[in-house]
């Protein structure tokens, strides 16, 4: 289904002075795919996106869109559109004029009636019908976000580039917008390339996630692949929560996800068939609703986190700070990962 990449980086390197922002990027995004680039700030994800948009040119390598080499082509000639981190809505234009801006740059210019129709459709798509005459400063953050989406999507770009689109929204709104973005992407069939530092966002929305670190791609895969089979401790630590223990060899760690740990009052009451079990002291407890998160200490393993599901509490019990407890895991839960 996803054979022909709609956009591709080919050995792209970008340096600013002597800073290597992006090194040897070979990311390819398939048509219709929702791909997120995930990484901390400074990892090169935004620079990669900006090279695709045409705001930056690669120092070496090439970027292509729909099989066409776009290296050196200015932004205004590229068939992609971008949703900016702070939306970058034009403050002197109303919502309708913001949304129709891309169409109005075309020559010949579409007729007014046609523009109005397109704007109405685009606003309906982002559930902002009737907001045509509003000014951007009269809108809430979420509404501004949707105007930015409509402004980009009205042009039917080959790829929609999204630069931390939800970072400025509060948590609840972010959840809503995540779902909305996903729906839009599915319904329109437009390829989305999203950049984020929020692993939850990347995991929940994307078909594939590309994890970057210090300018390089570390791993590309489906959210489940990244979560279950991280190629190293960096990915394991960035995607989901993980406990790291001293590994069997140099530069390795033993990684166990907190939710895969079992906890009980004593070793005897732990489930059967565990690979290993330890006596620990509870240092902290956070009630998370469906889970309770314990921070525990073992004399030689150190401190680590255990997630105890609510529905098994009747068996495992509930622990107070200072309580003694026993913790163990199944063999399949532990992975040995490299640290580099």
């Amino acid at each position: 289904m996803f054979e022909q990449p709609v956009i591709a980086f080919e050995n792209v390197t970008k340096t600013f002075g002597n800073v290597h922002a992006v090194v040897d990027n070979n990311l390819a995004v398939k048509a219709g795919e929702f791909l997120s680039i995930l990484g901390p700030s400074g990892c090169g994800k935004t620079t990669s996106l900006r090279m695709m948009a045409g705001f930056e040119q690669p120092s070496s390598g090439a970027v292509s869109i729909q099989g066409q080499n776009m290296t050196g082509v200015p932004a205004f000639l590229r068939p992609v559109n971008m949703v900016f981190q702070h939306y970058a809505l034009f403050p002197h234009l109303n919502v309708a004029d913001n949304v129709s801006y891309g169409l109005r740059q075309r020559r010949p210019k579409p007729a007014d009636a046609e523009l109005a129709k397109s704007v109405a459709d685009a606003l309906e798509m982002v559930r902002l019908s009737g907001y045509e005459k509003r000014r951007s400063y009269e809108l809430s953050g979420g509404q501004q976000q949707r105007v930015a989406l409509a402004r980009a999507l009205i042009n039917r770009p080959a790829v929609l580039l999204l630069d931390e689109p939800l970072a400025a929204l509060d948590r609840k709104l972010r959840r809503e917008m995540q779902i909305e973005l996903q729906n839009l992407q599915r319904n329109l069939g437009i390829t989305f390339l999203l950049v984020t530092h929020d692993q939850e966002e990347a995991l929940s929305m994307s078909d594939r996630v590309c994890v970057m670190r210090e300018g390089r791609i570390v791993q590309i895969g489906s959210p489940r692949e990244l979560y279950d089979k991280p190629i190293n401790s960096y990915v394991a630590g960035f995607v989901g929560k993980a406990n790291f223990f001293v590994g069997p060899k140099a530069d390795t760690v033993l990684c166990v996800r907190p939710e895969l740990l079992e906890i009980s009052a004593t070793r005897k009451t732990l489930p059967q068939g565990l690979a290993d079990a330890f006596d620990v002291t509870v240092l902290n407890r956070i009630f998370l609703g469906e889970h309770t998160e314990y921070l525990v200490r073992h004399e030689s393993l150190g401190d680590f986190t255990v997630l105890s599901p609510r529905k098994s509490e009747h068996a495992s019990g509930v622990f107070d700070i200072g309580d003694k407890a026993a913790v163990g895991w199944h063999k399949s839960a532990a992975q040995i990962l490299t640290t580099t």
């Binding site: 932004a75 205004f76 900016f84 702070h86 034009f90 002197h92 801006y101 891309g102 740059q105 075309r106």
Partner: protein
């Protein structure tokens, strides 16, 4: 209740200096002017109480001063914008931040030197041994600049550029560069982006600078006196002559009142029709 009262008192106190300033330095002098404008000139000059409209009826005697000022002040303001805008754009957009402030200082620096000296220098540049002699050298003979409206326009552009560049510079510098990226991303060529984004968003700066320059030009008398040499006569010159030479205070007061009214009307229309359309003031605050 007490709190509200307290804050009202505080507000009143805080506004008091501005209020006193407004009343004593703006309203009262204007009222004095208004009263004087209905009086008659005392035999030795000055003001003598009376109630007559003669001073207003005599305004056409300074018609040329009004038309000169109302023609040349807006024209000079527009020309100053034309010269200042590219300069401000260059400084705000093209010059690296490291040199930006130094170059801005260079633009503004002439303003700190004596205005008199600068106009004297222009008298020499525009006089027959200056530009006209260079023009003659390339075959354009008998060009007269000094003591013509052209000299006044040149002097105005030169003299007021340091006032026009900074506000435009500020509005261009604070312009969010991502808006230009967004514009390019939506398919707009650089010059289209300039016309659709940069220019409208820098209009508040243009407006501020224009107001500043226009108001100063409307009341200016030194520039026309130096570079107009008595041949280009502004309302400001009429006022200087009426108050300091003829000592006809009532007529001078009437001319002043007329000038104030013209300024208000012009600024009203300027704000209403040039700025009102794009709601620039709101944008400027965002």
């Amino acid at each position: 209740m007490n709190d509200a009262k307290h804050s009202r008192t505080l507000t009143a106190l805080l506004l008091a200096p501005a209020g006193v300033f407004f009343v004593f330095l703006l309203v009262l002098p204007l009222l004095v002017m208004l009263v004087y404008s209905f009086g008659v000139r005392a035999p030795e000059g000055g003001y003598q109480a009376a109630f007559t409209f003669d001073n207003y009826l005599n305004l056409p005697a300074r018609g040329k001063a009004f038309t000169n000022t109302l023609l040349l002040a807006p024209l000079a303001t527009a020309l100053t914008v034309l010269f200042a805008y590219p300069m401000a754009y260059f400084l705000a957009v093209k010059v690296s931040p490291r040199w930006r402030n130094a170059m801005l200082v260079l633009v503004v620096a002439p303003f700190w030197t004596s205005q008199l000296l600068r106009y004297y220098a222009w008298m020499m540049i525009l006089g027959s041994k200056g530009i006209p002699s260079w023009l003659e050298w390339i075959g354009i003979a008998d060009v007269r600049l000094l003591n013509t409206p052209y000299a006044v326009l040149i002097g105005a552009v030169y003299g007021f550029l340091p006032l026009m560049v900074p506000p435009i510079f500020v509005s261009l510098e604070k312009l969010d560069k991502r808006l230009l990226e967004a514009s390019a991303d939506l398919g707009s060529k650089p010059w289209q982006s300039f016309l659709q984004i940069t220019l409208p968003l820098s209009l508040p700066g243009v407006a501020t600078g224009s107001m500043l320059v226009f108001i100063l030009l409307m009341g200016d008398y030194i520039l026309p006196q130096f570079l107009g040499g008595g041949k280009v006569y502004f309302i400001g010159n009429a006022l200087v002559d009426l108050f300091l030479q003829s000592r006809n205070w009532p007529f001078g007061a009437a001319v002043s009142i007329a000038l104030v009214i013209i300024m208000f009307v012009t600024m009203y229309f300027y704000m209403r029709f040039v700025l009102g359309k794009t709601d620039q003031r709101r944008v400027a605050m965002v």
